[in-house]
């Protein structure tokens, strides 16, 4: 864990190390979203990651998508809403909604 989190610097460093990298960025939020617009996650092809786009609720799904984006090279816009009563349903327990843009650092 890095004390000083600068996701874009980490992304550049990982790329320079020859790793395949994707960036996930919160582009919009509604309601009480846990992390503000512009929050980021950097992910590599092995699923290693730094940063956050929520309080931990949807990172797992974003990481899985990011690994697909790394192999396809095609950006994706993901949307996450309110979680329902089913505890295993993916979503934000805080009642907010977020959209996350996932792109490969080519």
């Amino acid at each position: 864990m890095e004390i000083r989190e600068d996701i874009l610097e980490i992304a550049e460093r990982w790329r320079d190390d020859g790793r395949e990298v994707a960036l996930a960025t919160v582009v919009s939020t509604w309601g009480s979203a846990p992390r503000p617009t512009g929050s980021r996650l950097v992910i590599d092809a092995q699923g290693n990651f730094e940063g956050s786009v929520s309080g931990g609720c949807v990172e797992g799904a974003v990481i899985t998508e990011a690994m697909d984006v790394i192999s396809s090279g095609k950006p994706e816009l993901l949307e996450f809403g309110v979680a329902d009563e089913n505890a295993w349903e993916l979503g934000l327990s805080c009642g907010g909604q977020i959209r996350v843009y996932v792109e490969k650092v080519a």
Partner: protein, 233 residues
């Protein structure tokens, strides 16, 4: 995003230049705009200026296309005077909050590597050094020495900058004397009101680490809520 674009964003931030990355969320087409090169002929000029000023990333509809404006401002900085007990606590906390942090103290005996391992510490007088530090609106200045010879010149220079936060350690009485000295030097009440003193939120902090928490909390409020909001505290 290609690697060149990522490197360009990081390089601009390291050079303390604000940039906006514009992404068309449908096509994925991206464009990087530097604050310094933003032309009045840019079709998004007014929107980009507003985004840069507020430092807030946002989506935006332009000719039926949804664009994401990602604002990248330079890293915030904290410049403090005094290689003292409070700065020993404040330095690592400020770094953890993401601020590029530096301590300035002319007294070489205070800023020893034993007391400040791995810390960016400049031995010298704030009056000489501060003008060379490129203090901009993403910088905060906190004086911690209690010594007017060191802190006053730091504050005098700080007041001439756009620093988003200026704080000075010392009791109300100490600050009263400080205000008298600075008033004699021609600083009016309005300008002196920019100095947060006694520095830090009033949380009853006692130990150096607790005082560091109160300073960092007040600095954070100034950064995130603006100077007006933080002044109410």
């Amino acid at each position: 995003m290609n690697l060149q674009l990522l490197k360009a964003i990081n390089e601009n931030r390291a050079n303390r230049q604000a940039v906006i990355l514009i992404t068309n969320l449908k096509s994925g087409v991206q464009r990087l705009v530097r604050e310094s090169e933003l032309g009045s002929d840019d079709p998004l000029h007014d929107t980009l200026i507003a985004a840069l000023r507020g430092g807030r990333s946002q989506t935006f509809l332009h000719e039926g296309e949804e664009l994401f404006l990602n604002v990248h401002t330079p890293p915030t900085r904290l410049i403090m005077t005094g290689a003292v007990h409070i700065s020993q606590a404040l330095y690592p906390m400020a770094v953890a909050c993401g601020h590029d942090t530096v301590i300035v103290d002319p007294r070489a005996a205070f800023g020893t590597p034993e007391r400040f391992p791995g810390v960016e510490l400049i031995v010298g007088w704030p009056g000489d050094l501060f003008p060379n530090l490129g203090i901009d609106r993403y910088a905060a200045i906190v004086t911690l020495t209690h010594d007017p010879k060191i802190d006053d010149p730091a504050l005098e220079y700080a007041l001439s900058t756009d620093a988003f936060y200026i704080g000075a350690l010392g009791s109300r009485k100490t600050h009263g004397k400080r205000v008298e000295r600075l008033t004699d030097k021609g600083f009016d009440k309005d300008r002196l009101s920019r100095i947060a003193a006694p520095v830090g939120l009033d949380i009853g902090a006692k130990s150096p680490a607790e005082i560091a928490v109160s300073i960092l909390a007040q600095l954070t409020a100034a950064l995130r809520q603006g100077p007006q909001e933080s002044a109410k505290r």
